[in-house]
Amino acid sequence: MHITQGAFSFLPPLTDEQIARQAQYCIDKGWAMSLEFTDDPHPRNTYWDMWGHPMFDNPDAAALIMELKECRKVYGDRYIRFVAFDSTHGWESVRLSFIVNRPAAEPGFRLERQEAGGRSIRYTTRSYAADKPAGERYG
């Protein structure tokens, strides 16, 4: 199941060149780019692990692609995303984020139904990958 999260998620996966151009757009806007990765694909999991520091003073996207390649070497079997943070007053939050790397196989989610009082049912989604301990979920 192809996870859709953040911007461009309904497009086919971006090539490195396309990623670089999107990143350059963010840099030119003055946003600080950073890389984050995770192996818990649940949509409510917003706190991903950081790869290095946010990159505040790199004027060119080649630096980000270099970091992305480094990150893929270590965590190529996990989800990796670019996050663009806008520090200007009033925003002070993430302006754009998009997935730049995903595991080869994405097993998807199981829907669980919990029978509660009366005839009501509570639904929850659980990712098949998350059944395994962190760090061993993909590949």
Binding site: N58, P59, D60, E67
Partner: protein, 312 residues
């Protein structure tokens, strides 16, 4: 030319059959950069010549690329060797501008570093530090001043070696992302290249910066003063001429930088003189004229007597 292009298979119709180099020269802004270089920098004739040649090469290379004759990015890494104060950093700035206008680098900024910025203080500190600088320089020019300090022959466990290895690797694999310019004294640069053959083979352009002559330094002094709305009077000019000749013989002579420092001190003395002697109002003329006394008060002029005093 046109035939050669049309015969190439798989080249789409957008490839032009001819390119007007003259028009390219003007349009790309290379002409402006070279003219500015000519006008704003005094002397340095061999350097300007080399840069003009390099610009011509890059322009032709770009034209060849457009016609589908060349595919590789040419090696653009350079080394600037010359004594301190001969304009290496200034020329590097212009070079960044030139490369940017020709489209060889995307951003055209200059990141100027020395050993301290690249080499760490303990194990594992160097690689992230060097990478941080490299990332900052991406899309622009990395200017490494006094590059030979990266390599310390006497200590084989020096962390400089690690920085060199990372640098070489990135210089080779990410040639289209940035350009490295190494700078330093001529003789030490030569020794540095001898002990680091990896660098020598990755650097295509070696440019030597000659020392300025006395008359060039005098013109530089006048330009520097004019930029700050000061001027020398006739006697002051003569004193400056003498100062330059004497200063050159002193140790730690740093060409234009020495002149700038001397002028800063002369301005200080001028301010003092005006403050102490003025009674009443003074005009713009007096405020912006540096006279002989301001320059002659320098210890360069009485260093002979000072040494005698010290000896006695």
């Amino acid at each position: 030319m046109a035939e050669a292009v049309s015969m190439r298979p798989g080249v789409d119709g957008e490839v032009p059959s001819t390119i007007d180099l003259r028009a390219e020269y003007v349009e790309s802004g290379v002409k402006d950069v070279l003219e500015e270089l000519d006008n704003s920098l005094i002397g340095l004739a061999p350097v300007k010549q080399r840069i003009r040649e390099t610009a011509a090469l890059l322009l032709v290379e770009r034209a060849r690329k457009r016609l589908g004759l060349a595919h590789e990015t040419p090696t653009l890494h350079m080394s600037f060797s010359g004594n301190p104060g001969t304009g290496k950093t200034t020329v590097a700035l212009r070079m960044a501008d030139l490369l940017h206008r020709l489209g060889y680098i995307r951003k055209g900024h200059l990141v100027s570093v020395t050993r301290d910025d690249l080499v760490g203080q303990y194990i594992g500190h160097t690689a992230p530090k060097t990478k941080e600088i490299l990332k900052k320089a991406m899309g622009g020019v990395l200017f490494i001043d006094e590059a030979y300090y990266l390599y310390r022959q006497e200590n084989e466990r020096d962390y400089g070696q690690e920085a060199i290895e990372i640098l070489l690797q990135v210089m080779e694999h990410q040639r289209e992302d940035f350009v490295v310019i190494l700078a330093g004294y001529a003789d030490r640069m030569d020794r540095f290249f001898e002990s680091n053959p990896g660098f020598r083979s990755r650097i295509a352009h070696h440019i030597d910066f000659p020392d300025y002559t006395d008359s060039e330094l005098l013109r530089i002094a006048e330009v520097m003063l004019a930029k700050q709305n000061y001027s020398l009077d006739v006697a002051g000019r003569a004193a400056m001429e003498q100062y330059i000749a004497l200063r050159r013989r002193q140790p730690h002579f740093a060409n234009a930088r020495s002149i700038r420092n001397a002028l800063d001190r002369a301005r200080l003395r001028q301010a003092n003189r005006l403050f102490e002697t003025s009674n009443g109002s003074i005009g713009a003329d007096a405020l912006s004229t540096i006279v002989a006394a301001d320059i002659r008060a320098s210890r360069i002029f009485n260093s002979g007597t000072m040494q005698e005093e010290a000896a006695s």
